[in-house]
Every structure is written in structure tokens, then in C-alpha cells.
Symmetry: C2
């Protein structure tokens, strides 16, 4: 896989919604406004917000005055949920298949893969200790 910017965009969007107190349909923020705050393209934002909506972190509504708003309090949204919502992982690579026929050569990739999974879980656990609300705190408590 490649260097996707989905996670940073998602985290930024959620933090922006929290900052604007967008917690109900009448305070929805449009993809254009979110995009302007990054800055990036509204379509890029909508691609991410659609995934966040599917994960149940936000809701969106089409039409005039539509946009996105938070479905849960910012302090209850861990960044690990954000990472999962955008299908992110730590991307340390995929183990090579290993030479067929060599009993040791076939076992090494399994061990390497397990190490990558362990590192991935450790990163997710660390992100679970940071919430969207933490992204707005002025002093770097948990960061």
C-alpha cells in the first residue's frame, strides 16, 4: 500500500467539527469549508467523511445547508477508531512469501508477519489513548 493521507485528513476534519461545535444537523459543516481548512479538495474531504459516516463517527446530509456533524462527543472518539474508519494500518510492509520447500524459509515470513501485526496493534493502542478532544487542547498533555 501507499502513503495515504486519509488518516490525517480524517483527524483534521473531526477536530474541526469539534472546534465548531458541529454536533447537530443545524450546525452541519460543508465539505467545502472543511476542505478550505486543510487545505485540500472538497471531493477528497467527502471521500473521507463518507467513510467516517459509515463508521458511525459522524452523520452527513445532502442538500442546501447540509454537511457533516459529530455523532458522538469529541472526548469519546479515540484516534484508533478514526484509523480503523479509514481502513488505515501502520504499513510496515508485507512479508515476502518465502521460498517454497525450505521449512525454515517458509517459517520466517510467518514470524515477520506476526511482528508487523504486533507493531500495528501497539500503534493502535497508543492512538486509543488520544481523543479528538485532545487534538484541540492547547497544552500537549497526551501528545
Amino acid at each position: 500500500m501507499s502513503d495515504s493521507q486519509k488518516f490525517p485528513v480524517a483527524a483534521h476534519a473531526l477536530a474541526y467539527l469539534a472546534h465548531k461545535n458541529a454536533t447537530s444537523p443545524e450546525h452541519a459543516i460543508s465539505s467545502a469549508e472543511l476542505a478550505a481548512s486543510m487545505p485540500t479538495n472538497p471531493v477528497v474531504v467527502r471521500r473521507v467523511t463518507a467513510m467516517l459516516a459509515r463508521a458511525g463517527l459522524i452523520d452527513t446530509r445532502a442538500g442546501a445547508g447540509g454537511g457533516a456533524w459529530l455523532k458522538r462527543p469529541p472526548g469519546e472518539i479515540g484516534l484508533d477508531q478514526v484509523l480503523r474508519a479509514v481502513h488505515g494500518c501502520t504499513h510496515l510492509g508485507v512479508p515476502p512469501p518465502g521460498a517454497a520447500g525450505c521449512p525454515v524459509g517458509e517459517r520466517i515470513p510467518v514470524a515477520v508477519g506476526a511482528a508487523i501485526v504486533a507493531a500495528d496493534q501497539a500503534a493502535a493502542a497508543r492512538l486509543a489513548g488520544i481523543t479528538v478532544a485532545d487534538l484541540l487542547s492547547t497544552d500537549p498533555e497526551k501528545l
Copy 2:
């Protein structure tokens, strides 16, 4: 950045060297043999072994009978050192620059970047608890 396979290749190469007890110049393993065990291309292996040599984890020698061998015991090579040797990171993306002029919009990317660094460090700390020797153990103790 993209989904680089350098880390899995490096870990596999080190584990293979450990399995072959390649710990001195006279037991050097050629890039061709390492490549055959993945399988991949010898040049890809040499690109990685050159980085591992620069990091002091292995030594290499050119010429007939040359190749690579471990410079340190497998149990003393943590996978975090391997990751650093190949300049790896968790690749969660780079925070967007943020809209200039907005005090909050400019602070969010900093916080997001700090969260990414925290996740990166957590993954490295987890990898530090796994050594090349662990990759060869038959039972999944630390994996």
C-alpha cells in the same frame, strides 16, 4: 511515502543469516542466496543489506566467496533497530499544512502530527521487544 517492503526484506535477511549461523566472513551468504529465500531480486537484497551494514548490524565483503554475515548475536538485534536501519516508519501520513491565518486551523495539524509520532514510537517500542532470534523460535512467545 509508500508501502515499502524494505523492513520485511531486512528482517527476513537477518533471520536467514542467523539460521545459517553466518557470523564471520568465511560463512558469508551471497545476495543471490538471500534473494532466493524470499524470493526476490539480488539487487533488492543488496540495497537492503547495504543499509543494514551502514547501521552496523551486518558486514559485507565483495568478491568471490563474499556476501553478508551478522556482526552481532541475533538475540541482541531488536527489530526496532532493523526498522530504523531501513528508515522505516509507520506511514500514517503527513498532516495537511492547515489553513494559514486561522489560529485553530493551524494548531490542528501540529496535534495530528504529534499523534502520528506517538503511534510511531509505540510501534517501535513494541518491535524493540522482538529480536532476530525470536523470529526463528518455533513457538510464538513474543509474537
